[in-house]
């Protein structure tokens, strides 16, 4: 009986979503305040019913109701409660429900914090979000309901995919979806602006905190996913250019371009049409990711089980939402280039170059991801595109962006002072050179030197600008949130570059056979294999190895990698990681070899690998800090200072 309540709640949510979509849009068109006023209560009501539906599914997992087919497929009597909780979004149907719940969280937040928006604009934004919600609720109800029954109910469930039985899964998807879905808010702002004629650029200022907030969550989700696949899955690497990773990375690249383009449009009125287009693209790529992951059109290591009907539905929905919004864009986007003029050497130019590079990178990832499909279409055979393509092109496209990062804050809007930029280049270049020489003396290879150079260069730019503000701006106005966010995020890029390049250059990886008591030297560390014994968990038994790691004869870590066999018979490797600021030691158990306790082991020494995630965390923090800037919450641009004066006024703020 209770699971059916979940289904009914979803149907009621669908009806409210329809109301939230149709009536406010109609009201905004006909200038009817009563219709527009429906938006907020409808959004609140929809949230309540979606939350009920989600709670019902969670309850079914908690009470092990195996008569619900989705629970029977993804739970098991011996599954611990915390994984039963995260199993709610462990497969297609439930994760779709999570998608909808998070969309509703964003919508309700927007309904609550949009008091400063003109009523017509707020009604349109909520209406567009209602439309997106209708699409996903219909998708869930018609093709992917998690509440289908299985009668007679089986005595036990099939268990959650062991890959997903990990603390990482509890938070990775919600974070990622907060980002994906969050771009729907920027999208709704852009569509609302287009519907209203996009006559002024105030909408961009209102959209900026939401976009930065969503971008920060997406960053967090991607960082978590990278860390999870590295630390828990025994894959060892931190990025694989897998189609599903790419699906989250494309919106991130476009989102990065968008938060910068928004700054130009808000402060200088330029790039209007481009900002609108990027807002549409960012969310379109989120939808595209959903399509790629759930339709089975591409095969991937973590694609959901596919069903052709689902693919057709999402493709239709994608066609309506993206096709419709691009049509609105074609019809209503501002025809005249607006904004203040800018010189060739100006902050605008730098941001435009960065935007082009980021967009080109997203296009490059899209082409690489879809290439197997193109191969099919033109009978070129089944082909797939691997890391060599992505890696080399990505580095080429991002190198100019990294080069420009230190100059961005120093370049003034409109017209930059060339001599000031020369000074930055000289100082940052000198610091980078020193770093490079140091890396060379310490014996790094080309990539290690490059990583050190890039990190020093970006870091020097950040420090220089922070110092400039400290010396030149009046106390109390030195570091507005927007600028702190920018500096933190840019510093994050530097830290990420150091981590990514140094770990690629310096990692040592060995697959070895070790007898108990035998040692293997990896880098500066001796890994002593102490043997394997059996351990039991709630729903698995494991062969657990013990390795003692010594450095100059002193024990630095004792590691326990596992090879688990779950109750369903699936085998899962649990790598053991000894994490450190300067290096990670990493051990995965391979196969037993022979009868004398020897095992194949995979051993790694990974210097600086933490840095790349820490860099990601800094970028995330930058996004959150920026979205907290008080300036964004004002309704009227005229009431707020706008930067662009030639002097370094306190109001000049970050891009």
């Amino acid at each position: 009986m209770i699971p059916e309540l979940g289904e009914v709640a979803l149907i009621l949510a669908l009806l409210l979503a329809l109301v939230q979509c149709v009536l406010p849009l109609l009201g905004a068109w006909r200038n009817n305040a009563a219709l527009m006023a429906v938006a907020r209560p409808a959004a609140a009501g929809q949230f309540v019913f979606v939350a009920i539906s989600f709670a019902v599914l969670t309850w079914a997992f908690m009470t092990q109701d195996f008569s619900v087919a989705y629970v029977a497929q993804n739970s098991n009597l011996s599954l611990p409660w915390y994984y039963r909780f995260s199993a709610v979004w462990g497969a297609h149907e439930g994760s779709l429900l999570l998608w909808i719940l998070i969309l509703n969280v964003w919508t309700v937040a927007l309904a609550a914090f949009s008091g400063h928006l003109p009523p017509k604009f707020a009604a349109r934004v909520l209406g567009v979000l209602g439309f997106v919600s209708v699409g996903f609720l219909l998708f869930t109800l018609f093709t992917s309901s998690p509440f289908g029954r299985l009668l007679p109910a089986p005595g036990n469930g099939m268990d959650l995919n062991p890959v997903l039985q990990d603390p990482g899964l509890i938070i990775h998807p919600p974070m990622l979806y907060m980002g994906y879905v969050g771009f729907s808010v920027a999208f709704a702002f852009a569509i609302a602006a287009l519907l209203g004629g996009a006559l002024d650029d105030d909408w961009v200022r209102w959209a900026r905190p939401w976009t930065n907030f969503a971008w920060a969550f997406l960053t967090a989700g991607i960082v978590l996913g990278s860390w999870w696949s590295y630390a828990e899955l025994g894959w060892g690497g931190w990025w694989f250019w897998d189609p599903v990773e790419n699906a989250s990375f494309m919106p991130w690249l476009i989102g990065t371009a968008l938060i910068h383009a928004q700054a130009v449009t808000e402060k200088r009125g330029g790039l209007r049409a481009w900002t609108l287009l990027l807002s549409i693209f960012a969310f379109s790529l989120s939808l595209l990711g959903t399509f790629l992951v759930r339709s089975g059109v591409l095969t991937s290591v973590h694609a959901f089980a596919s069903d052709p009907r689902r693919g057709v539905y999402i493709l239709m929905f994608l066609g309506v939402v993206v096709g419709g919004s691009l049509l609105i864009y074609a019809l209503r986007a501002p025809k005249v280039a607006g904004g203040k003029p800018f010189a060739l050497l100006s902050r605008e130019t730098l941001i435009v170059i960065g935007n082009l590079m980021l967009t080109a990178a997203a296009a490059m990832v899209l082409i690489g991801t879809l290439y197997p499909l193109v191969g099919d279409a033109f009978h070129l055979g089944r082909v797939s595109v691997g890391p060599p393509y992505f890696g080399s092109l990505f580095i080429l496209l991002m190198a100019p962006v990294v080069l420009l990062i230190p100059f961005g804050p120093f370049a003034r809007w409109g017209k930059a002072d060339g001599t000031a930029l020369w000074r930055v280049l000289l100082i940052a270049g000198a610091v980078a050179l020193l770093g490079g020489i140091l890396a060379l003396l310490l014996g790094g290879d080309a990539r290690a030197v490059l990583g050190t150079v890039a990190a020093c260069y970006v870091g020097a730019g950040v420090v220089l600008y922070a110092r400039k503000r400290w010396r030149e701006a009046p106390a109390g106005r030195r570091y507005p949130a927007e600028m702190v966010g920018m500096l933190v995020a840019h510093a994050g890029v530097g830290v990420f570059l150091a981590g990514a390049l140094l770990t690629t250059a310096l990692s040592v990886e060995r697959d070895v056979r070790l007898d108990p008591g035998q040692s293997q030297r990896i880098g500066a560390y001796d890994f002593r294999f102490d043997g394997v014994h059996e351990v039991r968990g709630p729903n698995w038994t494991a062969q657990q190895g013990r390795l003692t790691v010594l450095h100059d004869g002193a024990v630095v870590a004792v590691m326990h990698p596992q090879k688990r066999v779950y109750s369903g018979g699936q085998v899962q490797t649990k790598a053991s990681v000894s994490a450190g600021v300067m290096r990670d030691l990493y051990v995965a158990l391979g196969e037993p070899l022979g009868d004398h306790g020897a095992w194949a082991l995979r051993l790694y020494d990974k210097p600086f690998v933490r840095w790349l995630w820490f860099g990601g965390v800094l970028m995330m923090l930058g996004g959150f800090i920026t979205s907290g800037d008080r300036r964004f919450r004002a309704r009227n641009a005229r009431a707020m200072p706008v930067s662009g004066t030639a002097t370094l006024a306190p109001r000049e703020s970050a891009a």
């Binding site: 339709s295 591409l298 052709p308 993206v322 096709g323 196969e591 070899l593 194949a600």
Partner: protein
């Protein structure tokens, strides 16, 4: 016109996706067809793993069917496949040629010494150049090559008892090889 370009690009994408969905609905998604099936195996001339002074060419192996198993000591999936090969090699009824792919010969010899050597003989392709002609893009992969040197069947990924029973054994029977009744 300019403003219609994004829409036009998107419609192209949708067409491609529609085609992709249609294609998937009408084809076996997991099968990666090898353009080499039914074609002569590429010529090769490679040193033997255990006797590097001796070389093996395609011509040396003509005359009766054989299996060519691409493996490497660095390949974890090959470790999964290895016990299957050890258990089934004598049941198959034809020679199993090991093809050590992009591997250090010393590592490969240690790997086979530790785990047992199921192969009739092993050739090494340290550079991986010849493997390109075979269309190898990972290890393990297994080719069935007939007496005339024609590739009859290819399997990508580890051979499992199920794959051997359901896919490989019928191909073997077509070539007149009689695998043991258990297979």
């Amino acid at each position: 016109m300019n403003r219609l370009l994004p829409l036009a690009g998107f419609l192209l994408l949708v067409t491609l996706f529609g085609y992709g969905l249609w294609w998937n609905a009408h084809h076996d998604v997991t099968a990666v067809p090898s353009p080499l099936i039914g074609k002569p195996a590429p010529a090769f001339d490679l040193p033997r793993l255990h006797h590097p002074a001796l070389r093996v060419t395609k011509a040396d192996l003509l005359g009766k069917p054989y299996l060519l198993n691409v493996f490497a000591s660095w390949c974890f999936a090959c470790g999964d496949e290895h016990p299957v090969l050890m258990a089934e090699v004598h049941e198959l009824g034809l020679p199993l040629i090991g093809y050590d792919y992009k591997d250090k010969p010393a590592d490969a010899r240690a790997w086979l010494t530790a785990r047992g050597d199921p192969y009739t003989l092993v050739v090494t392709d340290q550079s991986g150049d010849t493997a390109i002609n075979f269309g190898v893009y990972g290890a393990p992969e297994t080719f069935l090559i007939d007496a005339d040197g024609i590739i009859r069947y290819k399997h990508i990924g580890p051979l499992t008892p199920g794959v051997i029973r359901d896919q490989l054994a019928p191909q073997l029977r077509k070539l007149g090889v009689q695998p043991a009744p258990g297979i």
